[in-house]
Symmetry: D2
Subunit: 396 residues, 4 copies
């Protein structure tokens, strides 16, 4: 694997130079005023990215999985019912996690490649007249299938059923790359991580917590300690942490928020959309299809590409790594072997994306797939050229 | 706070140049062979540092607190009894954590400044003929008081009582800086972090788990998911992680282990001892005393220094930070205000230690304490000069 | 300009991660043993790259231009005659430099795009029966035109004429990327820099000096001081410098030599040749031609591509920088506007090269040149796929 | 040598974190607008530091020695007379350099430890009624002896003699650390480097050139090419360089200028003065004397300390390096063995300075010198405590 080629995995994303430098800091006393000064602006910065006016923002020294766990253990009690759809690896894992904590998960099955089945969820909510469902779990962007779900529609379903359940959203591979509207969608708990749209190494689980979710903490009896939101909120209020914080990543997050702000959040989303569309045109030019079943479901951060029947998609990933030193994502779970994935999130330029497409099509051609060299690249080039790409303005 | 002065907090410790560079890496695919190659040697490396021949070694993307939590949730069930002493902030917190998980903590109180009360523990174990106590918790090095406890004696007490309880040890501020003998002491679960003796930023909870503790996982019913050892062992066996690993810290750990090996573990311990002794001689020259009640309890990684009655020790820390840009540790919990702390662990040279002592005595003198300028420095210099200090051999 | 896209200028080349880290060092005393230890192995390392058994190797804190100047001022005297060909920007500049120092330059004109006119040189040498010509200047790789000259043939011409003149070679953009045989070709003074094949930032002028050239120093009367080879050789012999050395670049050079050695010098040359051939096939697919007039002249480090008559090649470079944040080289001197240049030297992977080709063809198409999108990329992909590219093995 | 201890050599100085990061940049096209944007503000920034309103500012990829050479070769012709004092290693070297270029150097001898002998210079200028002296050379801060000379007085001597000679000043170890007034003192050519007050690695020779000196270029016939100011001024005017510039150091210089500006130039000078005074008090407490003969000559960037007769001062430096991994400066030239030097320039805090003093006194005591441990440290502490030191405000 070359350290000079960009990675095309759906996270961790490529760390831009400015963030490389921002996290390369000597040891700083996390009980000092210097730390408090660095720490304080992060809350408002993340709220802006999540489009929330009043969420509590939390940074656990952990990953997105810990974020999911914190979401449920801090707000629910064993035996509580949650409603969730299973339509990809990450929605499936969240369900498993709930079960470990003794929650009663009402699961709606949907095909891998479909979005969150909002109609079925609506029906389930409507039928739940006793409001046994305490929380609804939605995976905004299924990283395994490259599928974006419609969180606003889930909110509409909740509202239509006049259901008081909390709405929890996994935004790990969407937040800071795709539009996310915590307030407008009435999201009660949003989970993300440092290593995707925020362009940092893994190591921060980032949560946005609505005041309604904060209130739910009082009655939640799931045991938790490291991931206890109350401890964290109390310590944060004094500018500190209940334990040693990951100072360098928090520094980096400050710079990441600056970069997002300088580019403009809507421009960041537009850039992701534009590059994703270039990738999708390349896929079409290769004669292949996405795992996502319809255009409204297409993710702007990752594309899962279906390989021909009988071909093992994992080979493309292994071959690209071995021969060309370039990383793509394998298929996971139900779609293992059936897809390979191109991550196109975070700090990416058109030129970097073209490098990935050129490599992917070489790898496929090497392995005998009927992909014409240059075809996908040309389709993406045509799109990038026409839609006025601009390079990221990250000065070194 | 100056970014050029070393820190003298009891962790995170100063990151040496070689580790600064080791963790400054671009994104690497954590599902690639490159990652697996980097990852694999870490297990044996940590076993060597812990002096264990067969422990399972685990790296959670988290901090030491998560390590404590993983220790108990993976091996115990709600209602299980654990035996613990409360004699400092960190032993106290571990007890609180156990209670959150519904454990029945049998607490032995001891003064802050004393070590783990082995006799009282022995008695408790002897009395526990029904073996209700499932685990004994020991804080090897109380970071709040600068006290080292005698883990070997606790093992003797367990053996003398023929008690089968698991022995869990918090080695967060000792492992890789002070001698730790997992095999010899019969430790079942040792917990540490990346940010102390391993000289890295915070972000890795590192566990050594005996085969007896591994066996205890089968019956443990405490709910856990992010910190589940079974998931981790299973994923690690395949060279991977159950979620996104903190790749750059794992890289850094590899280099940290190399550095410890190059210097020689016993030399590392001797260096810590020698520098700690220099600090202690300075404290004596200042006419002050350590919080640790007797020389056998003195920690080689942190010294908690008792300030004169009626004087608020926190002021020293604040003043040194504001006027001289240098970080020391405040007193915590019962000894808040009564002590201030000098951390002297990790990658430290004599010259760095003298800088800290010179700063501390200036700060004390500034605040009117009867400390003669140069007195502590001279006492430490005499010790360093005589005991043949050598600079760390970390080539840049 | 994006800091995330590779550059495709003919130097400075892209700095690999390992070298980025190697030069990121704190201040080291350049009069210490540590410095001497780092410094000493560099001489043999560079000799190996230059394929010399006995050259003195010199590192000036300067650039290649200073290397040219040191070459002549240390070995010649005002009024001395030198023989040189003018067939590109860099050969032209060297001639100008000689004239500034009062040398009598006998210039042979050759077209820009041609190589060093060996026949004409041979004739001039043969005619020079009085041996007034003291030195022959050859530009091994004309960076302005992408032309490699045949140094061995110049040596044959010298030998055929039994002419004792010194042979000076500008290897700035060839050494460490293309085969260079100081001993075999009888080169007396070879000049290069840190920022091309050695993959470092600019800042080191590197010279290989034959013992014959060393002997010439005794009689040379051109004034020099900063660039005096005698001062340098004397100081180097004691492990030091006559003034403050650029310690971090010398550290970096040590690592650069390690990297070249690990990959194997012949493999490095083969990689450059293979990637250069991919670029050339792309150029052919675009329907364009190289400035270099015949395949034997093709440079493996830079390709100067002739744009259609009436089109200003500089526009391609400006456009690629502005719209795609990617740097290519403009035409210089006589070929300004007539060519644009793709640098393909140093630490480059196939995937990076494809990114550059994809960008160049987008830029050309944007500007209305009759270049089909994907065509050049496909030609290079076909070549890379077939010739078994492997990623650089630079572990992060 | 430890990479964690600060260095106490009189340059290169310790590179602050912020500058470490500023120069750690990927390759940037030096012919791009990005480079021009970075480059342009540097001129005014350096003028401000030199206190000049209209000097041309030049950055050669070289060191201070090259700066001296550029000063004379660009403004003088072989045979021209220059007036210079020899009172230390660096003034001596400049004289030697002039002689290499055929200048007629009228040398005034002064003791090493004395300043520039202004009276004798005044007499020489007054006697030179034919104005054969074309330039007067002054070493503002003799790094070898720790002596500051009075440039203003030299200007007065020139004015008093109504002498039109150019005034050239070596400010390598003073500019950006000690007050330097190019306009007020009528300096025609000021020379410095990146590695002292500018806190960067070596690699930039920085010149301030008065319009009078610019005018002198037209007639100067000393041959020069790499260091030709005309080529440089012409290329700079277009935002570029006549050859490959050291882009990363120029980036760093931009940040260095920002740091100096943020702290405030007068505050930077005051900090140097205050820390230097602490060092001098330590020297007095050790019972030793400075090489500088009187307080008005004391340098604020380096102290040369005279060791007892018969003792070899070099041993202190060697011993401190070997036993304590800390770098000091040896004596040079006439004072080799007779002094050792403590550099205290650039980005230094009180705490760092105390570390150096503590180390130096340990080293002296180890070697049997009658220096009481802690004595020098205490004297400096007293001074630092009383004069209200503040840590450098360099946020990490």
């Amino acid at each position: 694997m070359s350290s000079q080629n960009p990675v095309f995995i759906p996270g961790p994303s490529n760390i831009p130079e400015r963030l490389r430098r921002a996290i390369d800091v000597p040891t700083i006393d996390h009980r000092s005023d210097s730390f408090a000064e660095l720490f304080r602006p992060l809350f408002a910065g993340v709220r802006k990215v999540m489009k929330s006016s009043d969420a509590e923002v939390i940074f656990f020294p952990a990953t997105g999985t810990a974020g999911w766990e914190a979401a449920i253990t801090n707000t629910l009690s064993p035996g509580d019912r949650v409603l969730a759809a299973r339509h990809g690896m990450f929605s499936q894992r969240w369900i498993a996690l709930c079960r470990r904590h003794g929650l009663d998960v009402q699961t709606i099955e949907a095909p891998w490649g479909a979005g969150c089945p909002v109609d079925a969820m609506g029906e389930a909510l409507t039928r739940d007249v006793g409001h046994r469902i305490k929380a609804v779990l939605v995976t905004h962007n299924e990283t395994a299938t490259g599928v974006r779900s419609d969180v606003a529609e889930v909110r509409h379903a909740l509202d239509a059923a006049r259901h008081p359940a909390l709405l929890f959203v996994d935004g790990v591979s969407s937040i800071a790359s795709m539009d996310f509207r915590m307030n407008e969608w009435g999201v009660d708990l949003a989970v993300t991580g440092s290593q995707k749209g925020f362009m940092l190494p893994a190591g921060l689980a980032i949560l946005g917590v609505s005041q309604k979710a904060v209130a739910a903490m009082d009655t939640a009896t799931c045991p938790r300690c490291y991931l206890d939101l109350r401890d964290m909120l109390m310590a944060n209020a004094k500018g500190g942490y209940p334990y040693t914080p990951p100072v360098n990543l928090l520094y980096g997050l400050g710079t990441s928020l600056e970069m997002l702000d300088e580019e403009g959040l809507e421009n960041v989303f537009a850039r992701h959309q534009r590059i994703a569309e270039g990738v999708r045109r390349a896929v079409a030019a290769w004669g292949l299809e996405l795992c996502a079943r319809s255009p409204d479901l297409y993710s702007d951060t990752v594309s899962a590409i279906v390989v021909p029947d009988g071909f093992d998609g994992t080979k493309i990933v292994t071959h690209a790594a071995e021969k060309y030193g370039t990383a793509f994502g394998v298929g996971l779970g139900e779609v293992a072997g059936k897809v390979f994935r191109i991550g196109h999130l975070g700090s990416l330029t058109d030129v970097m994306a073209l490098a990935g497409l050129a490599c992917a099509e070489m790898a496929m051609a090497d392995l005998g797939l009927p992909v014409r060299l240059g075809s996908g690249v040309a389709a993406a080039q045509e799109h990038f050229s026409r839609t006025g790409p601009k390079a990221l303005s990250q000065a070194a």
